[in-house]
């Protein structure tokens, strides 16, 4: 081991082994230093496992790193690059399995071989382009590929940018390109766990390897890993407690909250990159920072110099400088402006290129183009300003001007980021209608926030200074102290992954601890996933959030609904569509069968059998059964449970539910389909997102040009001014003032129609696992006022880990077990309200007292 104070010689990746260089000095102090670092790394792996950070692949990678680090650190310096390459290969094989890993190495060998071919540069570029097009055709499936679908993001993450930097280094002989450094560079240990990976420069990778004392590099790495964990924990807090659904933005304060939160979500990327580069430091790669206090940039060019610095350097090296040198014959300033413009154009295009390799489709949208275009213009303007103004001596004190600049850049970026993450420019622009709505408390809160921002932003955080002394190699005591603090930090974060620890916290802190400890989706992403927004995978990429993992794990084609699949038949009027009879399909990976009446249920006769109590069940997808097999929806499970108990009369539950059904559609279903079965009881379903479901129903009605034969709905559509051109978000906003009115009329009409048919109306309040009950309490009041017997099933999952009750991380519809719990809860509620006949026939009148 090299001394902690004297710089180690670069390992000279192709150098021959020599006794002098290979000499290893292992002391007790070195062992203690390595030990405390290994312990921190092991605890980081535990944090990743307990908090389920990223994917299981990251846990595997962190375990490999924790095990390999002490061995690697105690090796002779000359062996370390080779050892890193071997460790990286081991990580790849463990995560991808040998066959897929072999495919990566095979493709990599061809690409690297092409770079190293002894032919002219132009020929080489042409050959690389042909290889790239071939791979792209395999990626899109144009050429059938034997490669597993999940391999492409890994392949893309490894080669899509780093190959260009490797080729650049090869061309200009910037660094040795022998077997081991090349293998280590592409296999690079943490990469297999991260589709989004910092663009590590090959030259920096080689030249910075052990270019400073070992423990200085290791300590820096461990510090950055801990910082990454903190960023990721903060990200989860922002994600769950600060971000908002744009459709819920109704005041100036919420507008500010929504806008700032979109930029704050970038913490995830900086957290990941700190973690990645930190791990690389523990194998001696003394790479520069990837991010540097980017929320405190004082200009747009300053931001460009602080955020994702590896990307900035990549663009400088391969685009900006080459463009500038070619253009400078037209004058320095012209060349600067054109080069900057080219950089932003290329960044936009390369972002689409990246999305293509990671997700299989390029990413071109108007908000995306506007984001890069506007940011490019802002950087151009700042470039010209900075070029022309006289440089003044740096000030080390607080300055109002600096504070205003920092706040201005942060606000500007937040606005741009909110545009970027919006579904459309119209949606983004409509947010600003809320700016006029505010309250005194909101204004005071915003004033306090601004004052705090002024205080913080006025100082020159992280500004370059000549007086700063180079970082010294840490003494053993200092390293142990810092290690102890980090162990305490990591241990505390890991503990948040334990439900028992979280439940011991004060009640007020528990939601925050749960947000850090659990990787669930926030309300906005759940809602968007549910309505198929993330069917365009690039939308998930654009938000760059936790939803990316959920979407990536989701089986292909999951989001396509029954109508999109063409398995329904059209129905005129508000119903729009219905299930056809005798359908036999596999839907969401599960058998999906309908009976002769087009119900997802077993066979029933139209005529009610004698001694039978018949229940018609109406509702949306969570009643129909979504992502579960035939016989697993809760109404079917309840019917089976009651049959097993031998109740008399026999109870039939007929499932008339259909995905996406609003209350109005449930009304139409009852009238057009269920009433003819002469049910004794009708169960209507209300979920916490009825207003969104109703809005989507109206949008579909308008888009289809369907006749709206329901008077109250036709009136509201007219009053709200909804047109066929409106998107979902527009309809939600326009209907907002009428939400309660619509629900009230639908409930009243349902009660009247059910009573007229001689049945009893009851209404189930149901939510999906992990879905907040939200406005269900108010809905219950309205239902009771309308004359329904209210059956509250919203507590059906109490006492259970709700994440385990979803059909998957990508979809919160209740799984078979959750449906069993719902069946139990429904049985309990039916008995409590005496709606379920017991062994003696129920003498209660079929007409409820409230139905008039």
């Amino acid at each position: 081991m090299t001394s902690p104070t004297a710089p180690a010689a670069p390992t000279g990746t192709t150098a021959a082994l020599s006794p002098e260089v290979a000499e290893s000095r292992v002391s007790a102090a070195s062992l203690a230093r390595v030990g405390i670092l290994a312990l921190q790394l092991a605890l980081t792996a535990l944090v990743v496992r307990e908090l389920r950070i990223e994917s299981f692949a990251l846990y595997t990678v962190m375990v490999v790193a924790a095990v390999a680090f002490p061995v690697h650190a105690l090796l002779a310096p000359v062996l370390r690059m080779r050892a890193f390459a071997v460790i990286s290969v081991a990580g790849l094989v463990l995560v991808l399995q040998p066959k897929a890993a072999l495919a990566v190495f095979g493709i990599g060998a061809v690409l690297v071989g092409l770079v190293q071919l002894p032919v002219r540069w132009g020929v080489k570029l042409a050959l690389l382009s042909v290889a790239g097009v071939g791979l792209a055709l395999l990626r899109t499936g144009t050429i059938p590929s034997p490669l597993p679908h999940a391999l492409w993001p890994v392949l893309g993450a490894i080669f899509m940018f780093r190959l260009a930097l490797y080729a650049h280094a090869w061309r200009h002989k910037e660094a040795p390109t022998g077997f081991w450094p090349t293998l280590g560079y592409f296999a690079m240990l943490p990469n297999v766990a991260f589709p989004l990976f910092p663009v590590v420069d090959y030259k920096a990778f080689i030249r910075n390897h052990y270019d400073a004392p070992d423990f200085l590099i290791y300590e820096r790495g461990m510090r950055w890993i801990a910082r990454g964990v903190v960023h990721l924990a903060l990200y989860r807090l922002v994600y769950h407690h600060v971000t908002m659904d744009p459709l819920d933005v109704r005041s100036l304060g919420q507008l500010v909250q929504f806008t700032l939160s979109t930029f704050l979500l970038y913490l995830r990327v900086s957290g990941q990159f700190h973690l990645i580069v930190g791990v690389l430091h523990l194998f001696g790669f003394n790479l520069p920072e990837t991010h540097h206090l980017y929320y405190l940039a004082s200009s747009f060019t300053d931001l460009w110099r602080r955020i994702n610095l590896y990307w900035t350097n990549f663009m400088m090296k391969l685009v900006y400088y080459p463009a500038f040198f070619r253009l400078r014959k037209h004058g320095q300033e012209t060349a600067l402006l054109l080069s900057t413009a080219i950089v932003f154009l290329m960044t936009w295009l390369l972002h689409a290129y990246q999305t293509f390799w990671l997700l299989g489709a390029p990413h071109f949208t108007v908000p995306d183009a506007l984001f890069w275009g506007i940011l490019g213009v802002l950087v151009l303007v700042t470039t010209v300003y900075e070029k022309r103004r006289a440089r003044r001596p740096a000030q080390r004190r607080w300055e109002l001007g600096r504070a205003l600049q920092v706040i201005g850049v942060f606000t500007g970026m937040s606005l741009l980021w909110s545009l970027w993450s919006s579904e459309s420019v119209t949606e983004w622009a409509s947010l600003f209608h809320a700016a006029g709505q505010t309250s005194t408390s909101e204004v005071l809160a915003l004033g306090a926030l601004l004052a705090l921002a002024l205080v913080v932003a006025g100082y020159p955080w992280g500004a370059a200074t000549l007086a700063a002394a180079p970082e010294p190699a840490p003494a053993l005591g200092a390293q142990l102290r810092a290690g102890g603090l980090r162990l305490a930090l990591l241990g505390s974060v890991a503990a948040l992954g334990q439900p028992a620890v979280r439940s011991a916290l004060p009640l007020a802190l528990r939601p925050y601890a749960e947000s850090v400890g659990e990787p669930g989706l926030n309300a906005r992403d759940e809602a968007m996933l549910q309505r198929g927004y993330y069917e365009q995978l690039n939308a998930a990429d654009r938000t760059g959030g936790q939803v990316w993992n959920a979407v990536a794990e989701r089986p292909r084609g999951w989001g396509a609904g029954l109508m999109e699949l063409g398995w329904t038949r059209p129905v005129p009027g508000v119903l729009l569509a219905e299930l056809p009879p005798d359908l036999h399909q596999t839907y969401k990976g599960q058998p999906f069968t309908t009976n002769a009446w087009g119900m997802r249920d077993q066979a029933y006769t139209l005529e009610k059998p004698v001694d039978t109590y018949r229940v018609a069940v109406l509702g949306p997808s969570l009643v129909m059964g979504y992502g579960i097999g035939d016989g697993e929806p809760f109404e079917a499970q309840l019917e089976a449970m009651l049959a097993a108990e031998g109740t008399h009369p026999r109870v039939e539950l007929l499932n008339f539910a259909f995905e996406g059904h609003s209350l109005t559609q449930q009304l139409a279903t009852f009238r057009q389909r269920a009433a003819q079965f002469r049910p004794d009881l009708v169960l209507v379903t209300l979920t916490p997102i009825e207003h969104r479901v109703a809005a989507e129903h109206v949008r579909r009605l308008m888009a289809a040009g369907a006749s709206v034969e329901v008077p109250y709905l036709a009136r509201v559509i007219e009053q709200a001014g909804i047109t066929s051109a409106d998107r979902h978000a527009d309809v939600v906003r326009r209907l907002r003032p009428y939400d309660e009115d619509l629900m009230h009329h639908a409930l009243r009409a349902l009660v009247e129609q059910i009573a007229e048919a001689g049945a009893r109306p009851a209404l189930m309040l149901v939510r999906m696992p992990t879905q907040p009950a939200g406005p269900l309490a108010r809905s219950a009041e309205l239902a009771a006022e309308a004359g329904f017997t209210v059956l509250d099933l919203s507590h059906a999952y109490d006492g259970h880990e709700e994440n385990q009750l979803r059909v998957g991380p990508w979809d919160r519809h209740p799984n078979a077990e959750a449906n069993r719990l719902l069946a139990v809860a429904l049985q309990h509620e039916l008995q409590r309200t005496r709606l379920l006949p017991t062994s003696t026939p129920d003498p209660v009148s079929p007409v409820p007292s409230g139905a008039r």
Binding site: H172, K203, R305, K317, Y321, F324, A464, L466, A467
Partner: protein
């Protein structure tokens, strides 16, 4: 062979570190990695070096390895001049 370091040092002090104590700018002060020379300043420095010493730099030579300290800059310029 011109004495490169004093001229470059003066240029950097005048244009990129106004008001700074010259003694703080040493031969090994990190200029690019230390954030003193950003991309714009680096290109200004390139223009200065080419104009003052009559050399020509290429795009791939504009990097931290060659321009990060006064020492490295002097090495780059003298290497170029030796080839003229």
């Amino acid at each position: 062979m011109p004495d490169v370091i004093p001229q470059v040092k003066q240029y950097i002090l005048d244009h990129h570190l106004p008001g700074e104590n010259p003694a703080n700018l040493t031969l090994t002060t990190p200029l690019v990695s230390g954030g003193i020379l950003d991309s714009l300043a680096t290109l200004d420095l390139v223009a200065f070096l080419e104009g003052r010493f009559g050399i020509e730099l290429e795009a791939h030579e504009v990097d931290r390895d060659r321009l990060d300290t006064l020492e490295k800059i002097a090495e780059l310029v003298q290497g170029k001049l030796a080839r003229v």
